[in-house]
Each structure stands twice: as C-alpha cells, then as structure tokens.
C-alpha cells in the first residue's frame, strides 16, 4: 500500500518538491481512499483526525444554517487539500464535507502526522509552511468573494 501511495503523494501539487525521504515518512500515515458521490467525510463539530489530498473528484464544504439546512460555502477539487482542523486544538471540524462526485484522495492520519512533525522538525516546518500557504490562499479568495465584485461589474 505504501509504495503506490508514495508515488501518488509525490504527484500531488500540495506535496510537490518534498524530498523522497519526507514523502516516505508521510506515506506511512496515509492510504488511498475513494469517497462515493454523496458520501459524508465529516460533519461540523466532529473530531478532526484526518485530512485528504484530493486527486480527482469534488468535495463540498458546508455549514448548517437553521432554517436553510446545510449551506454549501465552497468546493474543493483535484490538487487541493481538504481539512486543517486536525492541526490545531480543539481538533474539531468547523465545517462539514460531502463528496459531490466520486472522489479519489490520499487520506492521512492527523495524530500520526502531528507526531511525525514533532519528531522531525524540518518536515514539520515544511508541512506547516504549505498549510499556511493554503490557508492564506483560501482567506484571500474568501475576502475577494466578500467584496461581491460581480454585483457591480459592467461590459
């Protein structure tokens, strides 16, 4: 299981450029997963113990709004990383996630990767740096969406 996962991890944009040795250590906490369309990956408030590197398919992030049900706030597709609540206490999901299509991913164990980051600071720094870049990217995209730019554009 580890060898093919290692190759898939090396090919994923989130981990691009990491050394073979670092990937190998991460791969020990990973396995391939297939989430069928409609499959629920996690729900708001649940324990955040895993994260996924999406290879193919699409996952929707949602939040429950009383009276409106689960409101879709964003989708994540191939090449993206799903889940960062496992990184920080209280290790609880802030949103829910459902696969909108059959989704192939590499699933990683959060506690295992956290422990790995503790014992290998260089790997930990590299991984946290990449997660921060993802968080910043999504924060900026969210801020742009908050501007509601299309409301006032014209040809």
């Amino acid at each position: 299981m580890t060898a093919p996962t290692l190759d898939l991890m090396a090919a994923h944009p989130f981990l691009a450029g990491m050394s073979r040795q670092q990937l190998d250590r991460l791969a020990r906490w990973s396995h391939r997963s297939l989430i069928h369309a409609g499959g629920r990956l996690f729900s708001e408030g649940g324990r955040a113990e895993r994260f996924w590197l999406i290879r193919d398919g699409q996952v929707a992030l949602d939040v429950h709004v009383p009276g409106r049900g689960d409101v879709l706030v964003e989708t994540l597709g191939p090449g993206t990383v799903l889940g960062w609540s496992w990184l920080f206490p209280p290790y609880r999901w802030q949103f829910g996630a459902t696969a909108l299509a059959h989704t192939h991913a590499i699933e990683l164990d959060g506690a295992g990767v956290r422990a790995l980051c503790e014992e290998d600071p260089e790997l930990g720094r590299e991984l946290y740096r990449r997660f921060i870049a993802v968080v910043v990217d999504r924060l900026q995209a969210t801020r742009v969406r908050l501007l509601d730019l299309y409301a006032g554009d014209q040809s």
């Binding site: 989708t75 191939p78 040809s155």
Partner: protein, 273 residues
C-alpha cells in the same frame, strides 16, 4: 466619429439584468472589428456608452449589456427594431496569435478567464480560437459568476466543449440544484489543463478579480506579457482625444482596453491612477 444607424434585429435575455442585442447596419457598416474591441453606442436622446463587442458576423454586431445606468437601461429595455447610433470599432483587441503554419502541431495553450459579464468581450475570441481546430494545443475557458442565474452565454458552453475546449464554471454562491464548483474563479486554474510557460491568458472581469487572476497565472509560470487583461475606465470619446480614460501613460480607449499584464500590472498597483 459620426454614428452610423444600426437597427436592433434580435434581443436575447441572458440574465435578469443582462441582454445580448444584435444590431444590423442601416447604411454604412462599421469597419472590420477584432475580438476585444468596443464601439460607442448612442441611444438617441439618452446618451452614449462604450460597449465591448460580444459577437456578430456578416455585418451584424452583438453587444451584451448589463442594465446599470440610463443608457444601458435604454438599450436593455429597447424593443426589437430600435435604431441606435454606432461608431468605432475602437481600441486594441486581444490580438489572437495567428494559426500555426504548415504541418507543425500547435504548441501554445490558451486560457480564457472571465468573471461575470467579463465573458462578453471574450466570447468572440473563444469563437475564433475554436473555429480552426489545431490553432491551439489546448483551450481552457474558466468562468466565474455570482450565482448560477448570473451566468451568461450558457447556451454556448456545450458547443465550446464539443469544439475541444475545457470549459469550467464556478459560482460564488450556490443555489439548490447547482452541482458545479463553488468558489473564486481563480480556483479553477488548478483544474485547468495547460502548460503555463507556453500559455497565453486572456482575462476580463472586475479589476480586483483580474489582479488575483494575473497574480495566480504568474505564479503558475505564465509570462506577464502573455497575460492580457481588458481594462475598464471612463471612456467618453473612444479615440483618445478627451483623456477621461487616462491610466498613467495610457489612454485606455486608444492603447487598450486590452493590455498586457507586464504594462497593466504596475499601473493597477498604483493608487489614484
């Protein structure tokens, strides 16, 4: 500069506030236009606005108009048969590279990235890029809108896909029944299949969106001079005389509206320009 009379022969509702009008010349046709150029459209008794050309052939000109002011309201609500005055075409267009000559396979990829009604001036360049198979190795059309109901030209997406384009669509806010991506249009770049170093990118939409798109395209490796954006400024005359559309050393109506990011980027990063 003298407006030529054009009659509206077709009016197609795109969204609740956007229509595409097809205009035919009554007397003299405007000169040959290039994708990305615009005309000045005069509504008699109301006023004049610059409008990107969103399509047309055989003398017909199409404009896709959003109802945002008195003149665009008059155009949007005018019945078929209404006569407008047009002059132009004006400005620099997208400057689509000529097709590969001989038997050489195409090497270049094309990314078209549009936000909201920014798809309007890009539509003719998509049509032209797909008209000759093999002109580009790959054509990616990335479209963002506020809501699914705000998407324009949806009736053409199927044809673009059938012609070989990868068409990806995202919205800021999903509605029930929407099964596609939700998020900023730049998020689609990860899903688009293109080789950045040999890609030309055409971007049109709200200015902030274009800044983010150009930044992301640059990060991916698309050369700045091959990222072209369509700017919007207060264009009054269309010919560079009045100066209302000045952006630093540029007059957008004359030197634009389509400008390379290597030139536009620093100007848009300067406040008060």
């Amino acid at each position: 500069m003298i407006p030529q009379p054009y009659r509206m022969v077709d009016r197609r509702v795109e969204t609740t506030d956007t229509v595409t009008v097809t205009l035919e010349p009554l007397e003299t046709e405007l000169g040959r236009w290039e994708p990305g150029q615009f005309t000045m459209v005069y509504v008699f008794g109301v006023g004049e606005v610059p409008l990107s050309i969103s399509g047309g052939s055989c003398g017909l000109i199409q404009h896709t108009v959003r109802d945002v002011g008195p003149v665009t309201h008059a155009i949007s609500t005018a019945p078929a048969g209404t006569v407008f005055g047009l002059h132009g075409p004006y400005g620099q267009g997208w400057q689509l590279a000529p097709p590969t000559t001989g038997d050489l396979p195409p090497k270049a990829d094309l990314v078209v990235l549009a936000g909201g009604i920014g798809l309007a001036p890009l539509r003719p360049v998509i049509t032209e890029a797909l008209a000759r198979p093999g002109r580009f190795r790959r054509v990616c059309v990335l479209i963002g809108a506020r809501r699914p109901a705000d998407l324009i030209f949806t009736y053409e997406y199927g044809g673009w896909r059938a012609a070989g384009a990868q068409v990806l669509v995202t919205v800021d806010r999903a509605e029930s029944g929407w099964r596609g991506p939700v998020g900023l249009v730049t998020g689609l770049l990860l899903r688009a299949r293109f080789a950045a170093p040999r890609t030309t990118a055409y971007v049109c939409g709200p200015e902030v969106m274009m800044r983010f798109a150009a930044r992301d395209l640059s990060h991916l490796g698309v050369p700045a001079d091959r990222i072209r954006v369509s700017l919007e400024r207060n264009m009054q005359c269309g010919t560079g005389w009045c100066g209302h559309c000045q952006l630093g050393p540029l007059l957008v109506c004359r030197d634009g509206p389509v400008i390379g990011w290597d030139v536009a980027g620093p100007l848009l990063a300067t406040r008060e320009l």
